[in-house]
Symmetry: C2
Subunit: 477 residues, 2 copies
């Protein structure tokens, strides 16, 4: 046991895990990436977090904050050269208050996203952030990584859903920025600086979250069409028709849909015509089922008539709608079953999706003629998940070196079309060493200056997002 | 002429004004606050802005960026101890591009807000930011101050309407952050740090702005009721009924309405019943006039029936709707006609508006029994404009000392109820010395660290928002 740990246990209310077996579940992430820590501290209060950070500053120990450990960028498990305490926020998990009139609630960082959703629902409100990991991810992690998910098109990312924060600084001081205000022009937006900073500038301990009216009704459709360009125009037309009530506009390539259909052992697609692309579209409405269905029916009828789309099916029951959603939601599982997959989470201007996809298809098939590329994602947000699957008969064909080359091809093209190499997953350790290729020197310099201003000793998550100044510059993970 | 100016003229394309008469219009703001500058520089390109900032860093000259000079917080005219060049962005005013498919446009900082709105309209889109000064304020100033206005409830503040920025740093380097992406999790949100920083961290030279579908129809109503608490409940009910399509929810106290009616020489209020409070409500709809009117009619009928409101009039024509709006829009003019007015721009949680108003009424009438307090503002955003007018027969009665005391009473109560002393106007120089009373030391410390990290010599707008470290701490304007 590290000698610096001796006095840590008494400094806060909560648990301190030092046995390997106790620590183990915190030290492997969803990508099976492993990390190490001298201890796992689980404080129960904000004051406890502050005490741990003051101790860390005193002893020169690094701190790796962790929420639900569901991140997909290697940012949630520490892989550090310095002795590190993993700071789990899971026991800091109270809903502090709900204000139905102001349509806000205050949740502690360790609240599961699903519990925040439930607290909102109890007050007859909606907390719209929704993603696959919602049963195990925490709201603190969602904010630290500015989570996206399936409701961004209508409600925005985690950033847009947060009015105020409570944060413990690297010095172990508590900043109470828990204001529940829609407008507040009284200085720099520290809130927005901490959101999306991946635990490198401070530890988020609580947040004021925005709630919304619950939609009364939904209408869901699957659409088939041949060009992504037409999908972008359909989105604009439906947005205009519905006044922005489109809540879902998800894209799947024909190969992506075929993969998931095969995996689910369903015999046929809900859309009869064979198309190159499919869309899952959902409209919310406050008036009721009929109004929701009418918006979608009229919009899709116009698109069929003009030849913008080839086919469309509107779900006639909740269970049919659920079966459409199941196709989208099984995408990860279906990929995992094919072997080692090289995944991407990129964003582009919506107007650039069509040429980008053509370019990336051509470049990848030139280099890897038998790898299968599937594309799916949140078209309404310009966010594509692009995966290279191994050849069907050779699941181990794609080697790590191939992965790096595929990344390079995809991300170079993303950059060329004005996109971002991480849309919603963040940089973590996985994409850190790619950043200098795609960000300007001036942007990296500004980021480093801010990091150094708020965490001069690089105590918080060193090596996540940015490499500490004392690391060799050619270090790669 | 300051000797350091000698070489500035040749460094950039644009104008350099040094004659007092030429400089004069830039050196008085809308509050009649006067400032001074050794020159006014009007570059035409981002590179020109960068050259001026490099010159300033070299010569130790302070730079005061200015847009339309319509700010209401004393932040747009330099009142500095150091020699200062006023940097007007007005000639940097091109719309660089419009992307209708991505629903974005790129505007340079000096574009008038009205010109940005017009460029969006030409592409059959809406740029929703709207405020009284839109014919003379610039989009760069709107972003630097995170402007609000009358469409925040539905579309958000300037912050929410911006996807990317181009900024010249204090060193005179150009950061190209002009991405047009809905999702981008690749590092600290520099964009959000520059937005609302009032020109103290960098000079915004261009921005990517979000566009929206144009609403097809609007319905407008004036409502009378007796309690602000009921207004907050009505807002929630209408939001729920309309799916968030309420675009305006403005509050006026009976005294505020009476003042403006008297000023406009109209004989009667559109609402027949005498009420303590009035609301101007507008709903947008994509379906058409009938749907918009139906949402409002049904919602207001339910509120009348339950006794939540006392009276309601829905505009039966565009000209009647315009006459409702004129009441709201004439509020500033009507106040100016009464003499010296002490104004506030505060925000509160919507659930706290009712007790806050009761508290502030009691406190102000105890101290100033014959001052008249009027309240109006954007109830949907929790944003109140509260003004103390002088007694009717003695327009000079309220003295500067009284103003300071009224500020103190109002802002102390705002703070007590979890509000902000500036909702949309910013801090500037007007509220700077009040900040330490209402912000925690830790928040001010974090702000100073960020300022020092990005502008170590305090070249940009020193004295706006934060007092430079070498100023005596008890300095007050």
């Amino acid at each position: 046991v590290n000698p610096a740990l001796a006095d840590l246990n008494g400094l806060f209310a909560g648990r301190l895990l030092v046995d390997e077996a106790d620590k183990a579940p915190f030290l492997v992430d969803w990508l099976k990436l492993k990390g190490d820590a001298i201890a796992v501290a689980m404080p129960e209060t904000t004051e406890g977090v502050a005490a741990i950070l003051r101790w860390a500053a005193r002893t020169g120990t690094a701190i790796a904050p962790q929420g639900g450990n569901t991140g997909l960028a290697g940012g949630s498990v520490p892989q550090l050269a310095r002795p590190t305490v993993l700071l789990s926020l899971k026991r800091l998990n109270r809903i502090r208050s709900v204000d139905a009139v102001n349509s806000t609630l205050v949740a502690e960082a360790g609240c599961l996203l699903a519990d925040v959703q439930a607290a909102a629902a109890e007050a007859a409100r909606l907390f719209p952030l929704s993603l696959a990991a919602e049963g195990s991810c925490t709201i603190g992690g969602n904010l630290a990584c500015n989570a996206g998910g399936t409701a961004v098109l209508r409600y925005g990312t985690a950033r847009e859903l947060c009015l105020g924060l409570e944060v413990v600084t690297a010095d172990g001081e508590i900043w109470n920025g828990l204001n529940a205000l829609r407008k507040n022009n009284t200085g720099y937006s520290l809130r927005d600086l901490f959101i999306g900073s991946e635990g490198t500038l401070g530890v988020i301990t609580a947040a004021v979250l925005k709630l919304f009216p619950k939609p009364r009704a939904r209408a869901t459709a699957m659409v088939g069409l041949d060009r992504v360009e037409q999908a972008a125009l359909l989105l604009a037309a439906l947005q205009s028709r519905s006044g922005g009530a489109i809540t879902t506009f998800e894209l799947m390539s024909a190969r992506a849909l075929a993969l998931v259909l095969a995996h689910l052992r369903q015999t046929q697609s809900p859309v009869e015509s064979a198309c190159r692309w499919y869309l899952l579209i959902e409209v919310s409405d406050q008036q009721g089922e009929d109004a929701a269905a009418a918006t979608l029916e009229e919009g899709l009828a116009a698109a069929l008539e003009s030849g913008q789309i080839k086919d469309a099916v509107i779900a006639s029951s909740l269970s049919q709608a659920a079966s459409f959603w199941r196709l989208r939601e099984s995408m990860n599982e279906a990929q995992a079953a094919t072997g080692k997959v090289v995944k991407h989470d990129v964003s582009l201007p919506i107007s650039a999706l069509d040429p980008f996809i053509a370019g990336v298809d051509a470049a990848l098939s030139a280099q890897f003629p038998d790898a299968r590329t599937i594309i799916y994602g949140h078209l309404g947000d310009g966010n594509l998940h692009l995966s290279a699957l191994p050849p069907e008969r050779d699941p181990h064909r794609l080697q790590p070196r191939d992965g790096a080359l595929i990344n390079r091809i995809v991300h170079d093209l993303v950059h060329e079309y004005g996109g971002a190499i991480s849309a919603e997953h963040g940089i973590g350790t996985l994409r850190r060493d790619e950043l200098p290729r795609y960000k300007s020197e001036i942007e990296l310099k500004l980021m480093r200056r801010i990091k150094t201003a708020l965490d001069p000793d690089w105590t918080l998550n060193p090596g996540v997002l940015l490499a500490p100044p004392d690391w060799p510059t050619d270090r790669s993970f």
